[in-house]
Symmetry: C2
């Protein structure tokens, strides 16, 4: 089975999905590369709508893609259009267009407790994707993506999740009111911030309803969020001879997830 | 002070340093970008030999670079050559050429105990740089870089260390004999591998002389290294609804470093 050529309507849509505005409007996003597409096809949380193949690479001739095409409709793009739509320098010959899961409501998010990750302007797509991957591994309850955080469905974020995209409930929106509401509902807020007053992570005992707040890679957690009873938490360095200013944001978040689960 | 134009000899050398072979031969490596170069200038472990500026960006006019040029010799490259030498798509206007620290001998490495990271074909430069950064944060004793591991002084590795390059003793060479020798000297070998028989990381108690072995991103730790008394260690996932196959290699290593220090 050779997929039919891409339609003009589809080509226009594919070009648009490189922009966050259109991803949100259409509630669709793209995943690129054989390994990544295989992962989402095997991930029941992801609704794959359509597969797209690079004409010059002819992946559809391989048995695994024939099997995939028996379940999901496919189309072929010429090399130039595929490169335009791809966000990588060396496009791999297959793309999946997927439906974005709906955001979770704050009400649903707090049901049952667990660990919530709140992202305050996390800007590096690789960091965000890795945070999603690790949060999924440790069974986090959900992710709140605050203002200034890179789009959860940015192609580079999706790739860095290594197949974990869509596997954790999420909501977008300002962190300040979301954290206030969580606090009134008995959640403990832990801000990853090494400023004065921060306690070492090893001294934090998770009470079953914990929010880990992760700040921007360069500037840390916004001062407005560090208020009242909220506890700042640090991961202390070891030894005297330290040359590093801080841990990477995804590393710090992952260590906190490990320590609190 | 305006730095003089680059000499032909220097230009030839800069071009060569994109290749591992020449980095090793010359015992020199490059660091690119204002933030990264500032970090190594402030890092007493790094011997900065020379600064190079992009003529079109004129960083040398800024006060911080005038101050740097009072201590380290500088030269100017035209835009085309700078782009050729740079390993990034959008070159930032400054490069530092640095001297590679000498490898540590196995004898010196084992003095005093601590945690050693052994890398078995870790291939992603971002992962390796992040591992060096985290290992430096947690005061690791050293790094052994086994066959198939990306060069510790690859430009993308150096950038991902965020200034921690050269801050940890290292040696290159085959892992198998190095691990055998460490074992006979009373070190415990922990292989990050979730295969049958692996114990959860939380059950590992560090005895002060521990080696964490990190495997390749796709294939894990090589079977030849999993022998005898060596303990395989896993970081268990939480919950039933998991969609992820594994943790990222840098994340797993960092969690192990945190847990064992």
């Amino acid at each position: 089975m050779i997929p039919r050529p891409v339609s003009n309507r589809q080509a226009t849509l594919l070009r648009k999905l490189n922009k966050k505005k259109y991803r949100t409007k259409e509630q669709l996003f793209l995943i690129e590369g054989a390994r990544a597409v295989e992962q989402v096809l095997a991930n029941s949380s992801v609704s794959v709508q359509h597969l797209f193949f690079d004409e010059s690479q002819q992946y559809w001739n391989q048995q695994q893609w024939q099997e995939a095409l028996a379940k999901v409709e496919g189309a072929v793009l010429d090399e130039e259009l595929f490169a335009e739509v791809s966000d990588t320098d060396n496009p791999q010959g297959v793309l999946a267009m997927c439906r974005m899961p709906a955001e979770i409501s704050q009400e649903k998010l707090v049901e049952g407790g667990g660990i919530i990750i709140a992202l305050d302007a996390v800007q590096d797509p690789g960091n965000l994707g890795t945070i999603i991957r690790t949060a999924s591994w440790f069974g986090a309850r959900g992710i709140i993506s605050g203002k200034g955080t890179v789009d959860l469905f940015h192609p580079k974020v999706v790739r860095a999740t290594a197949g974990a995209t869509c596997s954790i409930p999420y909501k977008n929106g300002p962190l300040s009111p979301a954290l206030d509401e969580l606090e009134t509902q008995g959640w403990s807020i832990y801000l990853l911030d090494a400023g004065p007053g921060a306690i070492p992570l090893k001294e934090v005992s998770s009470l079953g309803k914990s929010v880990i707040v992760v700040g921007n890679e360069a500037h840390g957690v916004r001062p407005e969020l560090i208020t009242g009873d909220r506890q700042t938490v640090k991961i202390p360095s070891v030894g005297e001879n330290r040359k590093v200013e801080s841990l990477n944001a995804a590393i710090a978040t992952s260590i906190a997830l490990y320590a609190l689960t």
